[in-house]
């Protein structure tokens, strides 16, 4: 956690200085505020879910589904969970930290995070509206198995 504070603060400081030199720092902070207010309801929802999952679902059960003993099943359940979680990185990553970080095996975690990004069901309405059915078919044909494969490789190499 300390590492993250240092890295994030450093990056923010550098960008803030760059923006200040272009006189765009106020615009950037306003943009940040807008983003934050947009995501806030999702964020609150995500943390309500974090609280209740910790309370209601026993750790052993999650471990059985997603941990090393789940084997190949983890590589299917993990991505399925990832693809369903909504709310962008500010909701997903803390949720992962609080619920899945200690329970999922390396491969399942890799598969879950990849699936959350690549084949997130929340993107479908946007994809259909702006790019059309052919693009959606192409993208999902190519990418639907990738998270599980990435997880499998992670388990073989680092598990």
């Amino acid at each position: 956690m300390i590492n993250a504070y240092i890295i994030l603060s450093l990056m923010t400081a550098i960008l803030l200085i760059l923006a200040y030199r272009q006189k765009k720092h106020v615009e950037g902070l306003k943009e940040a505020k807008k983003l934050f207010l947009n995501v806030l309801p999702m964020l609150i929802c995500a943390f309500v879910i974090v609280g209740f999952i910790n309370l209601l679902i026993p750790r052993e059960l999650l471990q059985g589904w997603l941990g090393p003993e789940a084997g190949w099943k983890g590589l299917v359940i993990g991505p399925a969970v990832g693809a369903l979680v909504q709310g962008g990185p500010f909701a997903f990553l803390p949720l992962f930290d609080a619920v899945f970080r200690d329970t999922a095996s390396v491969g399942t975690a890799v598969a879950m995070i990849s699936a959350w990004g690549m084949i997130n069901v929340g993107h479908l309405p946007y994809e259909f509206t702006f790019l059309g059915p052919r693009f959606v078919a192409l993208k999902y044909c190519m990418y639907i198995t990738i998270p599980s494969l990435a997880g499998l490789i992670a388990n073989l190499l680092f598990g």
Binding site: M11, L15, V39, I53, L55, H123, L138
Partner: protein, 182 residues
């Protein structure tokens, strides 16, 4: 998300009454407070990144036929472009109409979700350095490989998808003007 939260709250109420519900909120609130400073820094970072990459630059790089370089450029720009799906899918439509190949866009969308430079520090914070590194290394080749494969095996699909996008834009603008009349 709200539905899931509500279901969990109801289950908690049925299992342990109001006491358990209160406990759940307390636990969630505690977690939120723990990571709040990090989240706020994350948002400031996201806001600054989003103003530092001008849109003109993106369309200059990607809005044209780029040949075999397309997937590389697409991945690189995809990894740098900030914003959520409500921003980058319309951008992809615009770029495709402007002449970008479909392989470039397939690379773009994969890199946007797999490489995403602005997300890496946040991922390190919540997922851990080791796991982030493992995930990044394993998924690194995917954007470029996928885009190159599309351009190589399905060169004809670009025109069909452009046709789709044109139809959709017509439909969307009709819907919009309809709303304005109402």
């Amino acid at each position: 998300m709200a539905t899931v939260a509500l279901i969990l709250i109801i289950v908690a109420f049925l299992q342990g009454g109001l006491g358990l519900v209160g406990k759940g909120f307390l636990l969630g609130g505690q977690k939120l407070l723990e990571v709040m400073p990090l989240i706020i820094i994350g948002f400031i970072l996201a806001g600054l990144v989003s103003i530092s990459i001008p849109k003109r630059f993106v369309s200059k790089w990607l809005g044209r036929e780029a040949g075999w370089k397309g997937p590389f450029l697409g991945s690189l720009v995809g990894a740098m472009v900030p914003g959520g799906p409500f921003f980058f899918y319309p951008l992809m439509a615009t770029l495709t109409l402007a002449g970008a190949n479909v392989g470039t866009m397939i690379s773009f969308v994969a890199a946007k979700t797999l490489w995403n430079f602005a997300r890496i520090p946040l991922e390190i914070a919540f997922v851990g350095t080791e796991l982030t590194l493992i995930r990044f290394i394993i998924t690194f080749p995917i954007p470029i490989l996928a885009g190159t494969a599309v351009d190589f095996f399905m060169p004809g699909i670009a025109d069909k998808i452009r046709e789709d996008i044109r139809k959709l834009q017509k439909k969307n603008s009709l819907l919009k003007s309809g709303e304005e009349i109402d």
